[in-house]
Structures are given as C-alpha cells and as structure tokens.
Symmetry: C2
Subunit: 470 residues, 2 copies
C-alpha cells in the first residue's frame, strides 16, 4: 500500500528504545504525559526519558525541554499527547531530529470527523517521507515489560507487568494496562500494542516484528478490520508457520463494522476474506474477548502435543462428559488408556478409570490420598496412548491441598505433553490463589472447562498445521 | 413410565421438611452424616434433626437413634449414607414409618456394576410401592437456603447460602455447595438438587415442582440424559410458559454419552430429540458449565424486555463493536437512540453517542464526571427506542468510583428494562468487589462481554416465547 512505510518490519525503536521523549500534558492527573513518565519510572525503564513541554522546567526529577529540538541527545521513541492539530508540526520536528518511532496517543483524527481524517492523512505522509513509524493516533500505546517500558498514559494502579511469552495486540485500548489487570496475573506478557487508528503500524507490521522477537512465543490479536487483505494473507501464512497466531475479529456484522469505522476510523474488510485468510494460513480464531488472554497461555508455557488423544483426570464424571463432548469440536478424542495404566488404576481402586480417570469415588476411601493422586497424574501424563492432559483440581473447603498440588505440579515441569488445568472449589479465594500460583509455575489454568479443552484443541490443531514435528 | 411415582410433583417433603433423619456414617471427617448434621445446624435449619446409627448415643448435642423405627416422631425426609446393600432394608423401614422423601447419597448402584443396577431397581420398586420419592442414589443431595436446609454430605467451608430466585438442578454434584462457591456470591439461589442416578426424581419432577415454587423465578439444569422424552416435551412446554428454563445438555457425542452412562447409570437420549424439545418448548439452551450459574441471573432480578432493541454504554468503542456483533446472534439490534437523547448527548460532549454511547473520549475532559455519567445512564435506560441495556463499568486503578456507581445503580432499582453489566479494570480486587456488591443490589454482572449480551438475548427470546406480554 502506498502509505506503508518501506522499512515495514523494523519496530525495534518502538519496543526497545534506549531513549524516549514524552511530549504534551505534564499536569498531575490520571491521564497524560505525567502518568507516562511516572509509569516508566515505576516500571524501571533503564533508558533515558526526556519530557517535552515549554511550560515546565522539571517533572518527577527530570529536566523538561521546551521542544524536541532542544533535547541534547538522540531520541529513539517519541510519545505525543497534545491536541490533534499540533501533531503534524511535532512529527516534522521528530523527522528532523532523526526519530524513527512515534506513539500518537492524541485523539481527534479519522475517528472524529473529516478534519481529523485530513490531519491523519497528513501525519501518515510526514511519517512516510521521514522514515518514521507511527503507532496510533488514538492509541493507549504499547508496553515491553522485560524492559520496564510501560509508557501508559492512564493511571493503572500497579507498577510492574510480569515478563512472559504472550504478545497482545489490538485495535482497542482494552488490552492496555489501565484496562486489563496484568499486575494480578500469574503469567506474563512479552509485548502489548494498541494500534489505535492504525494509520501506519498495523497487524501485519506487528506480526512481522513479533515473528522474530525472541521473547514472544505466541501472539493474540483483536482486530476490527484488516488493512491489506493480500499482505495479511501472505504475512500471516509465514508467521503462523513459525509461531501460533490467535485472532478475535469483530465488526463481523454490518452494524458492528459501521460502529467500528466511527471509533477507529478504519474500514472493515469483508468478513469472508478474513475467514478465508484464517483457513489458509492456520490462524486460530477466537470467539470471545476473554479468550484473547486465556487461550494463548497454552502455547506460552506448554509443549505442543504430538497428536489429538486427550487424557482426562477429574473428580466427577459430569466434567468428564462435558470435556469429551467439547473435545470432539476440536478433533480431540479420548482413548482407552494403555492396558498397563488401566491395570494399575484398577489395582488402586476398582473402576477408577479406563478412559477418563474419575477420582471422585475413591477420594473419600483412600488413605494418604495425595501420593496416590500424584502417582495417577504422572501415570496418565506418561501413558503412551495420551498426547495432552486435562486435569481438574478441587481446592477443598480450606485450600488444604494447595501446597501438595503445587509440589506435584513442580514434578511435572518439563513434561513433554501439554497440561491444561481447571480449578474449582467451594471457596473462591482458594480457587484464585491456586490459579495464580499454578500459573506462576508455568501451568495454564482456565476459567472454564470448555476453555481448557479449547486450548488443548487449538494446541493440537496448531501442531497439525506445523506438521506435527514438534 | 412404569417406575415413576404416581404423586409425581409433590416434592414438598424433600425441599421443605419439618424433620429430617440422617442415617449412616457419623464419624467426624470431611464426608458423611456428621457433616450433614453440622451443615444443617450451621445453616440454621429450624426443623427437627434425627441422627440414626446403632453405634452412637449422641452427636453434636443431638440424640442418636439406633434405627429409624426408634425415632419417636414423624419424619418428613430421610438422608441415607450407608453401604449400598443396606439401602433397600432402610427404605423398607422408611416406608413403614410413613416417610415420603429420601435422599440416597450412597453410591455403588447402577453407576457401578450389574449388582448395583439390580439394587437400584429394587429400591425404586420399594419407593414406588411405598409412595416414597427418592433423590439419587449417588447424589450430593439438595438444598433450600431459605429454610437453612443444606444437608450437604461434604465439608464445604462456609455456612450459609444466600436465598435468591434461581433453582439449580443437575445430574452431577458439581452444582452442590462443596463444589460451587455459593457462599462467595452476591446473588442467591432458591433450590439446589443433584439428581444423581435419577432412579426416581428426575428433571421433569423438578421442573413441575419448581413451576409452582414461589421462591423460584428461573431454573437452570445440567442434564446428561432425559428419562422420558414424551413427558419432558409436555412438562417443559407448560413450565416454560410460566418460568424460564435454561438447560446445558452434555453427553452429546457418542463417547460422551457412553461415559455418562458409566458414571450415572442413565442412558443418554438421542441428541436430536432433545434439540427438538428445546425448540418446541422454548427451553433456553446453554453452551458451557459456567453459563448454568451466570445466565439465569438476568431472569432472577431483572424485568423481561419488551423487545429486542439494545442500548450500549461503554468506555471504549471496541466493546461496543463486540456487543453489536454478539447481539446479532440473538436477534438483538442496536438502534439509533431517540432524537431527544441524541441531542442531549451531543450537548454533553460532541460525538458522545448516536447508537452506542462511548464514554471514553469525554471521560478525561468532563469535570464532575459521575453526575454526568448518572444522567447518561438514566437517559439511555428511559429512552423509548431502547428495550434493554448493556452497561460497561470501569473500576479504575483504585476502585475510586465504586461507591458512586453503587449509588447510581440504586437509583435504577425498579427500572422496567433489564440491565446487564460488565465490569473491567486494572485491578482484580476492585472488579471482584464491585461485582459482588452490584449483584447484592440485584443487578447481574457477567464475567464476559459476550455472556452479558447472551443474557439479554435470552431475556429477549424468552419474552417473545411468553408472548411479549410482560
């Protein structure tokens, strides 16, 4: 496309800048440049920070420069929070200064009105000629937790984000740290990016960057539109062959697409084209907003399965039946366990399990329960008839099994088969604590039975896409 | 069916007994009659409790009787936790004593083996001849929180369940208080019933009982099989015309049905028959286990909508687009707001909303934000073009808006249009607290955008089923 920057894939200055200038609003408040700088300091950003605003001399212990020209050093990344009309002038200064990446938080562009659309065309033109990449406008920005780069323009209520293997990109600020509770999660993320109006940097640029980003093992995207169908198809095909790509696409209905255009200024592409692209490239398609954050977990910390044979360990037959039904949607089958495993299970408790292992009946009757449980979990994990494991955990009325469960899972670290867990129990605090701690250990826990199965189903589908050679 | 009790619908002794006998295991532990009695006492059960066990004289301050014949008073309900083989004899004694309802917690019946199946046939025959209703065997039992009737055989870690309008029935103990955190919920339930093996009391009996139970406004069921397709069709049609019935049916796949048979001893009915029954009677069909507890909330505390026109108030366009797309699945449309509302919104902030109200852009710019927000929420709720409302709440970095939100919602109590809310924010503790408190006020909060929309969609569908005359 004419407007795309020739150096399309080099987003290093965006995600790994050695220096960042923050231009605009420096007043204390819950939104603005002051918050950006505070967030960077809190998150432990190691690079240089240059606040820019003609009305201030100092903010948060940092020297404030009247304009970007006055900053005495090289600037890798500029973040702009000013009125829309002043953005073109600032960008010209950025180009003169040799800046390579800009985050334009300012709104009032194509999403607002005709004047805004003209302004947006103008800044894209400046960027293109000046070899400058723009994220936004109308964006809540980006994050790279490993580098303490959380230039968040909104107060978020926490300081750090765990570093992990999941990249989250979206055409909405709903994935940024002021909206999503990254600070309360047991798992971590590698990169966050809100495209905003996608005037320049778009889903394809991001996929290309993340494809070779060593921190990122899996990427999850929320899209309302695709900027360039042909490029999307080509790029996604290549990227998916290296890393799993999960996408939630909205704007599927005419009315949804219309409203999307009015809030992001982007035009929605025909739904069928996107559908076809998913099928051809092996993109894993999501269905709900929550899945954006849940389903990538299986790829972030677990190995890919070698096949579609699901093992189930539960405390109640009902969950087993639900899991079997759900697994069928994704081509998972629940086979007979190997004769060796079946014999051992039968010796532990009659009828304990042939296909699914139902720990419910023996639970009240077995003395020294946890060692037996541990043995069973390992037995199923090692069973040659099983490729992936759905394990159900009951936390009990007072979380009494938590430490023992964690010990057992620690012994499963490095297992060659993916394990998805679902935790339930009569007291939410224990369910939540156990979820957090298990995810800290690298074992994904899903909020629903069905989502755990979907995660394993997607892992199996992706393994097939990749040729099953992992 | 031959085995069905003639006095099919009278389950009053089961859910509202004046006296209950608990037969079997009285040893302290996390399972058994001791726990049942402790749970009844903790929950404040007002009726008489008669422990029965020949080896004890007293338990928890109550006299223990050697056998049921020795209990000097009338017994309405008997709960049995003994070995399977002793159950027929006990039931004969119950019949002699004039007992009308029994909960058989004991397992080892049709779900175990052939001998168990014969035992189960035997107890059903005893019940039928003796005019006795049986829940189970192999059940975790029932509950009626309004009466302090929580005869739970498993330690649950909390004492009370809030009384509410939702009845939860299932062919699994996963809905009972030892598995689901009723004690941590802002909303309440009217009745809980685990059918277990469904040897006698089944889904139709429950629907008939709940149909005329004044506490129950909505019923939600998890089924793996239907005992009698013809009766199910007839009963559900009549019940649905009075109260909404939500069903999650598993055992949909052949393998799932097979495993279901092995853990409940019930045969699964052809999936297509159930499908047809749902369509003919207007049963609302669920897709995930979590929906069993979430979706009925819209019926429990909110009025039915008069039509399918959805109003959306959000802080971000992306959520609006997702909501519109999702609504289309359930026939919800998102209309232009009335010209009066649109004018007022435009006066508050340019572009604030024509179809969806996006509070994001003005949020940072409006002084005295909450009164304006309150005005907008009321304006949309009263808009003549709108039948139901999806409201999105952002709790902020420190839950600072919580009290004000609650005040605003208090003013919406008694609204004639259903409101479904979704809460998000950067800190989970505030999201959770706000969810709890809003549900205490009677406003359902859904864990997902899509589920909130589905709830409103189902409310709209049900209103249509009922003739839209509510």
């Amino acid at each position: 496309m004419a407007l795309r920057n020739p150096k399309g894939s080099d987003l290093t200055p965006l995600f790994d800048p050695r220096s960042i200038a923050v231009i605009g609003l420096l007043k204390e408040g819950f939104f603005g440049g002051y918050v950006v700088i505070k967030s960077l300091l809190n998150a432990g950003f190691k690079g240089e920070i240059f606040p820019v605003n003609p009305s201030y001399n100092e903010v948060l212990g940092l020297t404030v420069y009247p304009s970007i020209k006055d900053v005495p050093r090289k600037i890798d990344l500029v973040l702009i929070i000013t009125g829309a009309r002043s953005v073109p002038g600032i960008l010209r200064e950025c180009v003169e200064k040799g800046v390579r990446a800009c985050i334009v938080v300012s709104d009032g562009f194509a999403e607002r009105d005709e004047e805004g659309r003209r302004l947006q065309d103008e800044i894209v033109e400046i960027a293109r000629r000046g070899n400058l990449r723009i994220v936004g406008p109308n964006t809540a920005g980006i994050a790279n937790p490993a580098k303490g780069l959380i230039p968040n323009p909104y107060e978020m209520g926490y300081e750090k984000i765990k570093h992990g293997a999941i990249a989250v990109c979206a055409q909405t600020g709903m994935i940024n740290p002021q909206a999503f509770p990254y600070g309360d999660l047991g798992y971590g993320v590698s990169k966050i990016c809100d495209f905003g109006n996608k005037s320049d940097v778009d889903e394809c640029d991001l996929m290309e960057y993340l494809e070779s980003d060593p921190s990122t093992k899996v990427m999850t995207l929320y899209l309302e539109s695709i900027k360039d169908g042909q490029r999307f198809l080509k790029v996604s095909k290549r990227v998916v062959s290296r890393k799993p790509v999960l996408i939630l696409k909205s704007g599927r209905t005419e009315q949804g697409a219309h409203v999307s255009a009015s809030h992001t200024g982007s035009l929605a592409l025909d739904e069928q084209i996107f559908d076809a692209a998913c099928k051809q490239s092996g993109i894993l398609r999501l269905e709900t907003f929550r899945e954006l954050f849940e389903l990538p977990k299986i790829f972030a910390s677990q190995p890919l399965p070698k096949g579609n044979r699901l093992g189930i360990i539960t405390f109640t037959g009902g969950v087993g039946v639900l899991a079997i039904d759900e697994g069928a949607k994704y081509g998972l089958s629940v086979p007979l366990l190997s004769s060796g495993t079946r014999k051992k299970l039968e010796a532990i408790f009659p009828g304990l399990g042939k296909r699914i292992v139902d720990m419910g009946p023996p639970m009240a009757l077995i003395n020294n329960y946890m060692p037996v449980y541990s043995e069973i979990l390992k037995m199923v994990t090692l069973d040659p008839c099983i490729d992936s494991i759905f394990n159900v955990i009951w936390t009990g009325p007072s979380g009494e099994f938590m430490e023992k469960y964690l010990t057992i899972y620690r012994e499963l670290q490095g297992s060659k088969k993916p394990i998805a867990s679902w935790i339930y129990g009569p007291r939410l605090p224990f369910v939540r604590e156990m979820t957090y701690r298990l995810e800290e250990l690298g074992f994904p826990v899903f909020p629903d039975i069905e989502m755990a199965i979907k995660a394993l189903g997607m892992a199996s589908q992706y393994a097939k896409t990749k040729g099953g050679d992992q």
